[in-house]
Amino acid sequence: MMLGNESARAEVVRWIKDWKPGSRPLFLIGPPGVGKTTAIRNMANDFNMYVFELNASDYRTKDRLRELLGNISPVNLMGQRILVFLDEVDGLYSKGDAGGVEFISEFIGESRVPIVMAANEEKDFLKDIIKKSKVVEFKRIPAREIVLYLKHIASQEGLSVANDALEGIVKSSNNDVRYCINQLQALQTGAVYKDVKYSDEEAVSLAMSSRQFDMAVYYINRWNADPERKVSVVAATLFYNQPPDLPRRARWLAEADLLLGRIKRTQEWRLLKYLNYMLAEAMSNMMGVYNEYLIPYTVINERWKREIYAGITDDLFKQVHTDKGFVAAYLVPLYEILVKRGIVVNDAVKRVIGG
């Protein structure tokens, strides 16, 4: 079942039905999550075509594209017709994809296979390509329709979700259907609560004053912040207050941070469900006040020195064949003395060391 953009989808189908060698390629334009990619995949499915897809995750330089598409055959080994789908072409204009745009512009003029491109925006560098293509615009889906759709999914999955929660999701999504479905799923696994009530300060204060671990978990779960922010604020509060059992709590925090690092690296977001428990263990049942600044304020006051030290470290590093750690730990202090003694003149450094 697909949502919205009926006439655009009909145009897509008409285009493929009429396609013959020499026909114009198809260019889909529209905001994220309105069904461009899905429309193409469904169409290919209906016509038993094989989709050869390249998106922003692939290297798309001129040479790479020529290698992949230059001699592409119209039919694959299974006898299916091949459809080339270049998704996210508005992401092409970067150094990493040098010459990609020019190649596509040439390629679409002489292709023996149907080509579809998709983009969120009509970027300037795409002008030439767009001129040679049949353009179909996909529009945002009305909020009301998305809510109905989410309700349908929820009932299929046996989930009961309040209406206002669904409306909240759609509102915050900018009518991006994919985002809404992800959020709905997140609700179900308990990882993210979009219908949340607690700000950073409320969530942390309530978690600290929770005598029971379960209550702390409850507040951290309903804390409206991304995991990155949660770890950082819990750390700031914990280190600022220094409760008597700090070592034990610090260990839980370090575990949570380790987990977060692993999730970010592996993109295994399912692991996120454990994070809130660890943070709750670090926070629950503790005397203290909310604090969100990880860097102690005495150090923040000296932050103007940071750039000066970075400058000397870089300069010395370029001249001395050794690692940055040695430069920062041993050579920079020596340089400071040389400046202090007037052997080397450097006013910025003089200001830093107060000489």
Binding site: V231, Q319, H321, D323, K324, A328, L331, L334
Partner: protein, 318 residues
């Protein structure tokens, strides 16, 4: 600012005859300098400040001549050296050699090669094999076991030893003479003791002390208090005595103001902790091994180090 100001660079030996130590290694390398085509890829392993980088440069100069810099690629841990660098920068550098220039091959010096990921190392092994007509690698590592086996087997391994007191003191003496600095023999011996056979640190400490006047034990001690190593020691003292707030301020000063790499702070902390007699060293090694791992794998290195600082309390000797 010129590198001549920094003695560690000013007094870096430029030729084999100036290299005062690692006699056996130098002798073997001289042979390669005479017959460059017989030289395999090399792996220099050994503790810091024992001459690995210096000797690699000397060798490159001997083999490539005057314009050696144009034919040498030097990369250390502070450069990005992920798999991308291997596939692009290194691969391109080894692609051809300028035969008209009269050099036998190009040389790639990879400092701290043991800090490269095993992915990057794996990507390198084919390049090492296929480029042997165009290039030689000199890999430099503190611990050779962190270099993956297939690479070790493609290299001649040279193990650098910690420098002995005589050769370090002799070198420091020479430098003092050239600089016209007065020094006491006991002060130079003291520098050797505190820098544990690391020539780079020793020369740097000598220069710091010399800026205070005559090089005496007293001045060496005063100058030692000025390095960040000393800040780290102070931070540990504060953390163990229960002044966590001050300890953490110092930590952020080191990271955020002075710009020390997090791994270096961890390493200095470990050395500092192990040098004390009021901690359980077995417990300390376990604690640091955990945090070493977390520092690399976690999301926020500064949070990890703050947590480690908080946990130091738990390794006090009973």
């Amino acid at each position: 600012m010129s590198s001549e100001i920094m003695w560690v660079e000013k007094y870096r030996p430029q030729t084999f005859s100036e290299v005062a130590n690692q006699v056996e290694i130098v002798e073997r390398l001289k042979g390669f300098a005479k017959n460059p085509l017989e030289m395999p890829h090399l792996l220099f392993a050994g503790p810091p400040g024992t001459g690995k980088t210096t000797i690699a440069f000397v060798l490159a100069r001997e083999i490539l001549g005057e314009n050696w810099r144009s034919y040498t690629l030097e990369l250390n841990a502070s450069d990005t050296r992920g798999i991308d660098t291997v596939r692009t920068t290194i691969k391109n550098f080894t692609r051809f050699v300028d035969k008209t220039s009269g050099i036998p091959y190009r040389i790639i010096i990879l400092d701290e090669a043991d800090e490269m990921t095993s992915d990057a190392q794996t990507a390198m092994r084919r390049i090492m094999e296929e480029s042997s007509t165009n290039a030689r690698f000199i890999l430099i590592a503190n611990v050779s076991s962190n270099i993956i086996e297939p690479i070790q087997s493609r290299c001649a391994i040279f193990r650098f030893k910690r420098l002995d007191e005589d050769s370090v003191v002799k070198r420091l003496n020479e430098i003092c003479k050239k600089e016209g600095v007065k020094c006491r023999e006991d002060a130079l011996k003291f520098i050797y003791q505190v820098t544990e056979g690391d020539m780079r640190k020793a020369i740097n400490q000598l220069q710091m002390a010399a800026t205070l006047g005559e090089v005496t034990v007293e001045n060496v001690k005063t100058s030692m208090a000025m390095t960040r190593e000393n800040d780290v020691k102070q931070m540990i003292e504060l953390a163990l005595s229960g002044d966590y707030r001050k300890a953490r301020e110092l930590l952020y000063k080191l990271l955020f103001i002075y710009g020390l790499p997090e791994e270096d702070v961890l390493r200095l902390m470990f050395t500092g902790v192990m040098g004390r007699n009021d901690v359980d060293t077995a417990a300390a090694s376990r604690l640091f091994s955990e945090y070493d791992y977390r520092l690399i794998q976690g999301a926020h290195p500064d949070i990890q180090l703050s947590a480690l600082l908080a946990e130091l309390q738990s390794i006090k000797a009973k």
